[in-house]
């Protein structure tokens, strides 16, 4: 198993684009983890904002210009990156935990538990994700915690489905059967035996879904239903700047937009490569 993993790691690093993606992602993560080290001002601290600095084009004080509140776009981007990443990661982790647990239970026990969970999933999947999130956010109002929950509600289904499918095939395999024969508890079998054998597909899906969650958050924020502009994510920075994009103050939305693109592309490069590496069907 260890060797296998190592081989995957080696294989991962053979793709230059994927390595590039990983490097960029790591750099951005450092920025997001320690925003105060890299930014000129704390965009949340209102005592640091002065309207007199409103809409300054990029200059030596404000590298990427300022927005209408006199907020330094570069600093706001770094803090925004932090929030975008946080929303993407938090919602993905939450949906993995919830969706995966429900999927494992659903697949392992079957019966009415399975029916109920999968019916709920069906109903939710018969509906575009963005609409669900949109309605939730429109009625709850903006907020980082709220958007994490909204995205979790939207995304758990995908993991539940995958986990269920994997469990259905895994539980028939020898190791699970023998664990049962040895008198292991259901809980033990699910989380001790089956879970470790089903992580690969989940990791791949989760990586791609982080990118999706970030896009969803940005889109909702763009529609004015995501993260408040007082604690801007990249999406709400773009939305805020979009109001003045055509008035000549392009820097307020173009730079956050580019950073968002770079972030998502880097995550997708990693996800793509992981899928290739972990998908035995595409290998000979």
């Amino acid at each position: 198993m260890k060797f296998f993993k190592n081989e995957m790691v080696v294989e991962f690093f053979e793709d230059k684009l994927a390595v590039g993606g990983l490097v960029i992602f790591l750099i951005l993560s450092v920025f997001a983890l320690f925003p105060s080290l890299f930014s000129y001002q704390n965009p949340y601290d209102l005592t640091q904002l002065f309207l007199e600095n409103s809409f300054q084009p990029p200059n030596h004080n404000f590298w990427l210009g300022t927005d209408e509140q006199g907020r330094d776009v570069f600093s706001a981007m770094i803090y925004g990156l932090r929030i975008s990443l946080y929303v993407g990661l938090a919602s993905t982790i939450l949906s993995v935990i919830i969706g995966y647990t429900l999927g494992l239970i659903s697949g392992y026990y079957g019966g009415w538990i399975d029916t109920i969970i999968m019916r709920i999933a069906d109903i939710q999947l018969s509906f575009p994700a963005i609409l669900i999130a949109l309605i939730i956010m429109a009625l709850w109002g903006e907020g980082i915690g709220k958007i994490v929950i909204a995205i979790t509600i939207v995304n758990w289904v995908y993991y539940a489905r995958t986990a269920r499918g994997v469990v259905l095939s895994e539980k028939e395999k020898d190791y699970a059967q023998s664990a049962k024969a040895l008198g292991m508890s259901n809980f033990g079998i699910i989380f001790g035996e089956i879970l470790p054998n089903t992580t690969a597909p989940i990791i791949v899906i989760a990586t791609v879904r982080i990118a999706n969650a970030i896009i969803l958050e940005a889109t909702l924020s763009f529609l004015g239903l995501g993260v408040p502009i007082t604690q801007p994510s990249l999406g709400s920075l773009i939305a805020n700047g979009y109001q003045v994009l055509f008035s000549g103050y392009w820097w307020a939305s173009v730079y956050p937009g580019i950073l968002l693109m770079v972030l998502i592309i880097s995550i997708n490069l990693i996800g793509d490569r992981m899928r290739d590496v972990m998908n035995p069907r595409l290998k000979r």
Binding site: L51, F55, Q69, A138, G141, G224, T230, Q243, F246
Partner: protein, 510 residues
């Protein structure tokens, strides 16, 4: 050669006569219905004003002028006799007469879904005296009567009676300068000239309203010539439009005041954190400190790009009840800090400022700027800007401690704001529905109630000013920020007339 001349002449003829003249207007929002009595909302009212006539109409400076009413008398405080214009026809050829007036008022009074009830609620009875004379009896003496009538569009009794509300909502037939052609919802509304309009044929053969709700696209549309006029020019785009030599811009002071209101009725307010656990807004010194501590000049300069007028009271100068002696205080953070210290909050306190983010011009940005200003006098403000769909229900439930909101004195009379925002909340008498900070002062209440029934304009204004003196200067019940201004842009090919009531009245446009 001769032939050529003829051809050129023919072409010129086609140019002046054959080609229909079209006026294209780009609006920030469109109409919700074609029923002039359903939804009382500025954009819908503005569009429908081109189809329907009212008994009296505001001019561009919100003075009352005769429209379908030729003249009126007020023999007793509660009685108004109105003489109707003769020979006026609806678009379907039916004659306009007193029956239509009585029908129209009764429809609003009896139709529970009408948004115009507030305009007729003081009217007790409408009676036909003869075909061209109508008598109105009000519940009490009602000085704002005529101004309220400017919102009551005349319907044709024969056409409308017995029709479903849905039908009326799609088939507008009025007596106005333009006739309805088509309505592609969310996209455009098309009218054509009514050649039989009683005041003469309109200048334009076709009138098209296009809905361009996105600020950027609206600007792009006027710059590219897709439309001839736009309203609500984004403040950040004004200079760009000004620099285009084919376009004019117009700045017209509006009626809407943007102000801050705060919880003035609870000992403990839900969204305030203070050292002593009390509601600081109960102390007038704190309220006044906020007034001194907000750098409104900077907000106007940087957020509104200069397109707003600083406010010191409830109404702008065109509104009845304006008090020229009330002046805005100078931004003075030091004084604000001193006042806070006197009130027992030398280190300030923290509070959530609620604001809508899709209702007023730059609403969320203004709230942030307010927060940024107050941060400098030690008050930590967290801005909670939400869509109007969650903002208004919250304020209605007083689920807020401090909020940014707006009020337009749409009648051109100060009574609406005094009644709705300043008078103590009193659902039985119908006062203070928007007074969600629940400011209450018995003297102010008395003055407002007296002025509401005072038919003597001079003493009435005096009472209104007195109420303001107490509510603003003494009690600082709200913190006025600024009056919005309406900004329009139009092609230089046409002569546009901006109006105080924010409507686009195409008949005046040449």
């Amino acid at each position: 050669m001769k032939r050529l001349t003829v051809a050129v002449a023919a072409l010129a003829l086609v140019g002046t006569m054959g080609v229909a003249k079209t006026l294209k207007v780009g609006l920030a929002s469109g109409a919700y219905t074609m029923d002039p009595q359903a939804f009382n909302e500025t954009a819908t009212n503005s569009i429908l004003s081109n189809i329907f006539d009212t008994l009296v109409r505001f001019d561009e400076n919100i003075k009352v002028h005769p429209d379908l009413a030729e003249s009126w008398t007020n023999p007793e405080p509660k009685v108004w006799i109105i003489k109707l214009r003769k020979g006026v026809k609806f678009h379907n050829g039916n004659a306009f007469n007193a029956d239509d007036v009585v029908f129209t008022f009764n429809r609003i009074k009896n139709w529970k879904k009408s948004g115009f009830k507030g305009k007729v609620s003081m009217i007790d009875k409408v009676e036909k005296i003869d075909d061209y004379t109508v008598k109105f009896i009000t519940k009490k003496a009602f000085p704002v009567f005529l101004r309220k009538l400017t919102y009551v569009n005349m319907l044709d009794k024969e056409t409308v009676e017995g029709k479903s509300d849905e039908w009326i909502g799609l088939h507008p037939i009025g007596t106005g300068p333009y006739k309805f052609v088509l309505w592609r919802k969310g996209d455009q509304i098309k009218f054509k000239a009514n050649p039989d309009y009683w005041a003469g044929k309109p200048k334009f053969d076709d009138l098209i309203f296009r809905v361009l709700s996105n600020n950027a696209t609206r600007t792009a549309a006027i710059l590219s010539g897709e439309v001839d006029i736009i309203n609500r020019v984004p403040v950040v785009d004004v200079n760009r439009i000004k620099s285009n030599d084919k376009l004019n811009t117009f700045v017209k002071p509006g009626l809407r005041l943007i102000y801050l209101q705060m919880d003035q009725f609870r000992e403990k307010s839900p969204y305030v954190k203070t050292s002593d656990g009390k509601n600081p807004f109960l102390d007038v010194r704190v309220r006044r400190a906020l007034y001194y501590g907000i750098n409104e000049d900077a907000i106007i300069k940087f957020i509104m790009k200069g397109f707003a007028a600083p406010a010191a009271q409830f109404h702008p100068d065109v509104v009845v009840g304006y008090d020229p002696t009330i002046k805005r205080v100078k931004y003075d953070p030091a004084k604000a800090k001193k006042l806070l210290a006197q009130a027992g909050y030398p280190n300030g306190f923290s509070v959530v400022l609620d604001a809508p983010n899709n209702r007023y011009i730059n609403d969320a940005q203004i709230a942030q700027a307010v927060a940024s200003s107050l941060a400098k006098i030690g008050i930590k403000v967290k801005v909670n800007a939400t869509p109007k769909s969650s903002f208004f229900p919250r304020t209605a439930k007083q689920d807020t401690s401090f909020f940014l909101i707006g009020w337009a004195s749409s009648d051109g009379d100060g009574s609406s704001m005094l009644d709705g925002v300043v008078h103590s909340k009193d659902d039985v008498k119908g006062y203070g529905r928007y007074n969600n900070g629940k400011y209450s002062n018995a003297d102010v209440d008395r003055l407002i109630e007296e002025s509401d029934a005072n038919m003597n304009p001079a003493s009435r204004v005096k009472e209104m000013r007195e109420a303001q003196q107490i509510a603003i200067v003494k009690d600082q019940s709200i913190i006025p920020l600024h009056y919005q201004v309406d900004i329009y842009a139009s092609s230089k090919k046409i002569k546009f007339v901006p109006r105080t009531d924010s409507r686009i009245w195409a008949f005046d446009i040449k």
